[in-house]
Amino acid sequence: MNRRKLLSLLGMSPALLAESRAAAQQKSASKAAAPDAGQGKITAVNPKGTPPPITLIPMAPRLDTLDGKTVYLVDTGFHGSDMLLHQVEAWFGRNMPNVTVVFRRKAGPYAEDDPKLWKEIKEKGNAVIMAVGH
């Protein structure tokens, strides 16, 4: 499924998308409304809860080039992430040797924040590659 279709499933409003989930649901409901003989129509409530609005975060400006820059490789702690990132590190060594690569394992279990590391990266790094989910 492509990104646009996925995001429409999320129900994001037409400000970002051509068609919202709500509109799709209304269409779907009326499509399902071919009444069976002898059955009257009834009304039932929508059982869904209330999702929070989404605050869009502008993405950070990109770099002109990685040449001469410092890229942090951040291991989330999932099995094999460190080995994968060491292969990424080796790739930079072979293909973009002017890039300084710094490997770090994020502190704590994977779902925990690591503000100390984010501070270090902000002070000393130019970009981040983070891996990986399983």
């Binding site: 990104r3 996925l6 809860g49 400006p61 399983h134």
Partner: protein, 436 residues
């Protein structure tokens, strides 16, 4: 951070990664994908991943990563502001058959027939509580997602759909107020359980006798089901690939493990009293873990032996993941026998189990959950993991990190002395009376 980033995710989590980034404000985040899995691959195999294509886009993976960090942003990627999220119109009108189909096709159900939440039925459910229909009950998320909120009225819809009677509604509201979803995103396929304590067990005719854990009473069946429907509808859980990733799934998720404690037949204080409530209070206590297993097949269970339930349980628990706890679900005959054998309090039995359910450090370190969750804590100096990781491989350590990992509940009909056990951790106890 204000620094360009390129997240790498394995292909199996494509939808999750895109949708979760969107929910957190970056619907166009430049996510790069590797083949799946990474776990268990050799360095040479991972080099092939890195030198090869992104399996989603088909482009060379490392070129995609470099581009993610260097290609200028599009207008969409620079957007800020608030975006509303719609869940559709407040009501749907159609024939009953078509509405059943519509609710099923839109993921509102557990794929079993439901009671349609008509306005009349929802209004009747609302009479089961003194709380106002528009009162906000709480927030729920099925994992590391932004939580959804819900009102008493919205909870009532799921309670109706599950087949609850209005008098069950305070228990459903108490569960909803906990914010604990019974469908969790983990790939582990979690299971959930609840213990019901207090006079409400008799008032609503919960079954805590013969077949206590089976499909033999309406409150046991429908309140557990309501938890799962709430988790889907109020917490947006249970969407495979998005908010649910359990590889195998879990059959217990249909109505969860509902345990009304057999308080009168138990030789020990009931569970909620252990948690600081009074005996006459009505309380629901929630658990999370991996499932429930039988306890009949372990040591000392032959007909001619003096059954050693303590050893039997310890054997069983040594096969559990220590990341979750151990919930002993004891028939009253088991509990009474244990008391006769000297365990006059639950605490005494728990102390024995904690001390005698052990493992070697080598075995502990080889466990998946230890590496993923406890090794990082050991590095931060958190106990007991920091000490455990410093010990030699042949050192013997407890199988569970602390005595509080064990819990005991008594239920069942005393037709035989059989225990069951959940690899389940205690989460929270919530007053039902507050939602009357």
């Amino acid at each position: 951070m204000g620094i360009p980033s390129a997240p790498m995710i394995t292909k199996a989590f494509k939808d999750l990664a895109i949708l979760n980034a969107a929910k957190r404000g970056m619907p166009h985040e430049r996510i790069c994908f590797t083949p799946h899995p990474v776990w268990g691959k050799t360095p040479d195999e991972l080099r092939v991943y890195v030198d090869g294509p992104d399996p989603v886009s088909g482009k060379p993976l490392m070129k995609e990563i470099v581009d993610a960090l260097t290609v200028p942003l599009s207008d969409d990627e620079k957007k800020s502001g608030i975006v509303s999220v719609s869940v559709g119109p407040p009501t749907f009108t159609d024939t009953a058959d078509n509405l059943q189909e519509f609710y099923l096709n839109n993921g509102y159900t557990d794929f079993l027939p439901i009671i349609l939440p008509t306005q009349e039925k929802v209004d009747a459910m609302l009479k089961g509580t003194g709380h106002k229909p528009d009162e906000v009950v709480g927030k729920m998320a099925a994992g590391a997602y932004p939580a959804w909120s819900y009102t008493v009225r919205q909870v009532a819809a799921s309670a109706v759909m599950a087949g609850c009677r209005p008098e069950y509604f305070p228990i459903v509201l108490a569960i909803a107020s906990s914010g604990v979803a019974s469908l969790f995103s983990s790939t582990n396929s979690f299971a959930f359980a609840m213990i019901i304590n207090g006079p409400i067990r008799d008032k609503l005719e919960f079954n805590y006798g013969i077949g206590a854990l089976g499909p033999f009473a309406q409150p046991n069946a429908t309140i557990g089901r309501a938890w799962t429907l709430m988790s889907k509808n109020l917490g947006n859980g249970g969407i495979p690939g998005d908010t649910y990733l359990g590889s195998l799934g879990n059959n217990l998720n249909y109505n969860n493990v509902v345990i009304a404690e057999n308080e009168d037949a138990s030789p020990w204080p009931p569970f909620h009293v252990q948690r600081g409530f009074k005996k006459e209070e009505n309380v629901v206590s929630l658990f999370r873990g991996l499932g429930v297993v039988p306890g009949q097949v372990a040591r000392g269970s032959s007909a001619n032996e003096n059954v050693q339930f303590d050893y039997q349980m310890s054997d069983l628990f040594s096969t559990f993941t220590g990341f979750f706890g151990a919930l002993i679900i004891a028939d009253p005959l088991v509990a009474i026998r244990l008391k006769e054998q000297g365990y006059d309090t639950k605490e005494k039995l728990i102390a024995w189990l904690y001390k005698n359910t052990t493992q070697t450090v080598k075995d502990y370190k080889s466990r998946n959950y230890a590496y993923l969750f406890e090794y990082p804590q050991a590095l931060q100096g958190r106990e007991p993991f920091a000490t455990w990781y410093k010990l030699p491989d042949d050192a013997v350590i407890p199988h569970f990190p602390r005595p509080e990992s064990f819990n005991i509940v008594v239920t069942g009909g005393q037709t035989n002395a059989y225990p069951q056990a959940g690899n389940l951790s205690y989460g929270v106890s919530v007053s039902i009376d507050k939602w009357m």
